[in-house]
Amino acid sequence: MRSLAFLRLDRTRRVLGALACTGALGAALWADRAAAWEREQLEASAAARSPRTLAEVRAMVQMVQRASVLTEERQRLTVVNNFFNQRIAFRDDTQVWGVIDYWATPMELLEKGKGDCEDYAIAKYMSLLGAGVPQGRLRMVYVRAQFQGRSQAHMVLAYYAQPDAEPLILDNINPEIQAASQRADLTPVFSFNGEGLWTGVGATTAGNPLVRLSLWRDLLARAKEEGF
């Protein structure tokens, strides 16, 4: 596993250019995975869906490649945030998927071209991981949003430059990246990321029943199958 991780790192460097080397291998397991997008697999999965999806996914991969060579992380945030805010139209899951709540992978999101708040957050989260942002700096946050005069459940992506710093918020309601203090319309409730999330070890992850038990883990497993 260790050597495999090294191999992946090498490959990431070759494909995506210089990447910040993450610390302890064990803790960075998911980060490495996320960073090492399987480009061929991604394109194959996309091609299997539709030519449009393939084009969209290629655009996303190029965007991530572009972002990964940027030196400032703040700039990477902007590239990723804009990419999804501009391409994806906001729709409820009931309209897009016909179910009350569905967590779509970035590819599913791009295929439909529309999604709701957590789909944006997820796509941004994964793209930033792909662009080399350490996982520890990213959290998905359940918030209560005051939108059009009424409060509603919402999810955003928060970026912590330092562990105890004030986060920057990547949102689809307000496409501008702003510090949390400037977003008086949002009240945070609970946050999480993929760090320490046990998704099993080895190639059988996707088949492990444990992985699919929660929406979040199920999503990660599906994304991994698609090549993220």
């Binding site: 562990p163 009240t187 945070p188 999480f192 990321n193 760090e195 999330l197 046990w198 444990l210």
Partner: protein, 642 residues
Amino acid sequence: MSLIRQIWCLVLGAVLASVLGGVAVSTWSLRELLQTQAQLKNNDNANALALALSQQKGDAELMSLLISAQFDAGAYESVRWRNGQGKAVFERHLETPQAAQAPGWFVALLPLRVAPGLAKVSDGWRAVGEVEVRGQTGYVHEALWKASLNSTLWLVMVGVVTGLAAAVVLARVRRPLDTAVRQAEGVTQGRFETVLEPRVPEMRKLTSAMNTMVVRTRQMFEAQAEQLRTLHHQLLCDELTGLSHRRQFVAELSSALERDDGPLRAGLVLLRLKDLQGLNQRLGHGGTDQALLAMAQALRVYPEQVRGCLAGRLNGSDFALWLPAPKVVGDTAHALADALRAGLQGVDPGIGVALGAVELPRDQPMSAWFAAADAALARAEQGEGVVLELRQAPPSEEVAQGERAWRALISDALAQQRSRLLEFPLIGRERQVLHLECPLQLKLNPLGEFEPAARWLPLALRHRLSAEADLQALALALAAVQQDQRARCVNVAPASLNDGSFIARARELVQAAPAAVRRLIGLELAEPAAVQHFEVLQELGRQLRPLGVQLGLEHAGAGLAQIDRLFQAGLDYVKLDSSVVSGISADAGRAAFVRSLVVMLRSLSLKVYAEGVTDALDAQALWDCELDGITGPWASAQDIKP
């Protein structure tokens, strides 16, 4: 490896594999399940706790209290709260780790991989680190251990039941298999026995084939025996009456007088049909023959019903009956006289028969026997009709000494081992010694001489000491063989076989000897034993022949053809009685009879020897008849190859 053992190995292997495999699979999947459950519990509890902690507005006291409460109320190994830099802010953990109730090797064999549950804690937008939750897992191994024990127990029970069932089935197969094997072994040893056909189809075919083969062999044997009987009848018997003719009767009587195991005293009855010529004129040829046949009829009953009895027609009008038992001649002669009276009445009331009956000690020479009987017959001829003259010599002194004294003498001699074996060679065609015949001698009087069996064996038989004597002879022979490695054989009295413990004790003696010695030991029984004690004889063969001991018949004569189960006896050799082989050089008919006997016995894979040969011409004639060996005075006088 035997078939049965192979099947057993297969059954045990399958049971063992299913027990081990079953336990391993069930334990393994149970471990997976328990591990998954523990993992889920960790994850979910971490998330729930993080969610609760995130609602405390960053109040560290309150959050610590919450963590404590969660820890105290649940089954946790540890609950940690770390800040953003990974430093522990607050932690609770089990002071004494829960000890697993399962053995150490079991825990080591099935390690649990349960990662702690991790969840992010925040206070509003501020990240305040993460909680790490580890549930207790000691119970997992305990549960696994118990489950493994239970499934092992259950599968072992299934295994035992399977084993029992297999044992029953194998026993069902094994019985007919063993029977078939025994039958096959019997055939190679010359015992042609049929067995019951088993119900297992494959075995039934095999057994049926074997039985058919055995039956055919028997039929062949019986045909040969029948031929032999005819030959015997033609050559050695009187044409009209079917009784032995003179020469044959004399030979048989001579053999009976010399035999060791005969009685001390015996009886001889001579009968004469008076005035044969007058009868011929009066009744005509047919009437005379009828009278002679009636006499033969009355006599024939004895040899047919009592083994050892001899009856013969000595010449035209004379008949003889030999009774090998003391104190019976009087009753027998009276009964015979009555039977003749009744039998001859129908032919012609005027017919006269004289009977002269004597009882003498058996050690008297044949001439003395005939002289005494003739004298009695001469007296009887004086009378009219059927007349009996009986003469009994007074019992000798030795017998008068009293039964108890004799018994003491013999048993003392045996107990003190005042015994030795004589050695008479049995030689083969190349003058090589095939084995030594070893009769036992006892020194009845500690200061006296060794005495031959003929003197004490009849008394030993009467006092049921023959088994002791025979066992002593066997022991001596075993010891002697061990010394010089020369084959020996000893006699076994038929009466010894009646002693229930004889076979077991003989087997013990033989078993104690090295295998090389056992192969050089032979046991032989007189031919009457083969008929009277047939089952015991068979048993003797079954017990001793597998050890290497040879089993043979001695004093075998015309009666061999009468032993209709000879093919079941399981013998190694047969010694033809001197009454059969003596005078063979001068008698082409006798030679033909002996030759057919040899052919028949050979077909049962028996070796054929001749005993009591005195004459070099006889010996040559016997070699011409393809005999395997010769014993007797002639053989003892030969230059013997070592």
